[in-house]
Amino acid sequence: MSVNLSVELAGLRLKNPVLTASGCFAYGEEASEIYDISRLGGIVTKSLTYLPREGHPPPKVRETDAGMLNAIGLSNVGIENFINEKLPFISKYDTACIVSIAGSTVDEYERLAVRLAEHENVDAIEVNISCPNVDEGGLEFGAHSRAAGEVIARIRKRFPRPVIAKLSPNVTDIKEIAKSVADSGADIISLINTLVGTSIDIEKRTFHLSNIYGGLSGPAVRPVALAMVYKVAQVVKIPIIGIGGISTTSDALEFLLAGASAIQVGTAMFIDPKAPLRIIDGLGNYLVKHKENNINDIIGKVGIDEF
């Protein structure tokens, strides 16, 4: 029995619902030395700023129980180098190219969107709003619905293809932020970005990360991510991309059942670069096992038991 794994999110066609998460796939070159990345539903690039960035000094990462902390600090090649050196490479592959952008000001986001609009082979933009807003004293754009909405509205005007708003989980009411970005014209919502965390070296009595705080990711955060995806699915009509600790087929299925139309694999890429491929195969096997033939039929199909 042949099964359909392809999904379409607000015009963004994916051969399967499995994407790589931003910052967990660089720009695709490294993984392409391990397998054919055309098998992926799509690639989300490292978040790009206008100018290149070195990012935070080391140490930048730390393992935690079933998770990890990272304070990479948006190290990236900058938009021009990306367009000249990285985009042509990604474009050789038959997989969706989603470019993640990050700004310190609304203007920077806008300028990034303008540059990317010129390139047809950028299928969508993912807007990383978990960045300090310089104009507002370093407060995250993603922390407040107004700022979040403003960024999305400005980008929406400048980019002709799907705009994905990637939400920060470090908020009191994710539903409010989701509604705001949806009302501001986001075509798709992806979540979650990392949770703020830290860890301390008890012998040295210093923080493990040079930046003190890092972003927590990995299996540890999955239950939080899944709850937020389900909450958002209850209040917005636009498609959702689930992110957070997804490492196995079963993890991915939880998010699809909760209402995500696609998922991203982040930290699991480090544990097993082929994790996305295993999940793609696993989704097919799950459908076959349940005598179903279309992945779209299970999206949002979690029920509420009678207890």
């Binding site: 967990c24 990012g55 930048k60 480090f270």
Partner: protein, 272 residues
């Protein structure tokens, strides 16, 4: 090309109290492995630890398609690795990193290996000799903290090189650190190849400068991915003049130990 799959443990050997040698069958990795390169090994099926662990390739056997590593029990991951049994299958990614170029010509060289840094230098030494580099021109300093965690499985002695064994506490070979031994041996005619803990490499880097000679240093770092996608292993290096303007104009240029390294030129790294 890099290979990521489950591979079989074909041999397990105990070298000292806390040091083991493991042999894996993987014709692909074996065929393409270069001295100084490493593999990422997932030490458990669950998430303890979460990340795979990096281990230098110690030796390869092209006939059997096997490669081996030598490792010291350190914490959670290496403990689980030590519990592996022959015929177990385990997830490995490799070969990784830039590695060393084989030594050519006949200019004398010194290998400075501390503990976990010895395996890659053995591999470099053995292959270079195979390719015709004169063994007698190689001085190999093999150091360890103490006898119980030395990495020497006897093979170094068979290479016909000038071998200097030492331990910090004198319980094995000469008494003193790798840096102490290097201090005596080094002069501006000799190129250094060093691998070991950051503290040792930092000292060796300045020693190389002082004795004004050249050297290659193979670094360690925490490595979430091992193949360049996470930037987690990045270290500060001296920015090249070519670097254009950056957003956060840092006084350093970050390089990934796993992909741009683990081998760096002496003088390239900005030490903490």
């Amino acid at each position: 090309m890099k290979f990521s799959d489950y591979f079989q443990v074909t041999k397990k050997e105990r070298i000292s109290d806390s040091v083991y040698r493991l042999v894996f069958r993987s014709p692909d990795i074996t065929a393409s492995a270069k001295p100084g390169q490493f593999v990422q090994i997932r030490t458990s099926h669950d998430y303890f630890p979460l990340w795979p662990r990096p281990f230098s390739i110690y030796d390869t056997d092209l006939n059997t398609g096997e490669f081996s590593i030598i490792f010291k029990i350190f914490g959670c991951g290496t403990s689980k690795l030590a519990n592996l049994a022959e015929n177990d299958k385990i997830h490995i990614l490799g070969p990784l990193g830039n590695g060393f170029d084989l030594i050519e010509g006949d200019k004398p060289v010194i290998m400075a290996g501390g503990g976990v840094g010895i395996p890659p230098l053995y591999f470099l030494t053995a292959r270079s000799i195979d390719k015709g580099y004169p063994a007698e021109n190689i001085t190999f300093i093999s150091g360890a903290k103490t006898k119980k965690d030395h990495f020497d499985d006897g093979r170094l002695a068979d290479l016909g090189i000038n071998l200097v064994v030492c331990s910090d506490d004198g319980s094995y070979g000469k008494s003193g650190t790798v840096v102490d031994m290097l201090e005596n041996e080094l002069n501006d005619q000799k190129t250094v190849y060093a691998c070991g803990p950051s503290g040792m490499l930092k000292k060796i880097d300045s020693l190389i400068k002082r004795k004004n000679t050249a050297g290659m240093l193979s670094l360690e770092a925490l490595m979430p991915c091992g193949f360049g996608i996470c930037s987690g292993c990045a270290i500060k290096t001296v920015p090249g003049d070519d670097r254009g303007s950056t957003d956060d104009n840092r006084d350093y240029h970050l390089k990934r130990v796993c992909l741009d390294g683990p081998v760096f030129k002496a003088g390239e790294v900005i030490w903490r």
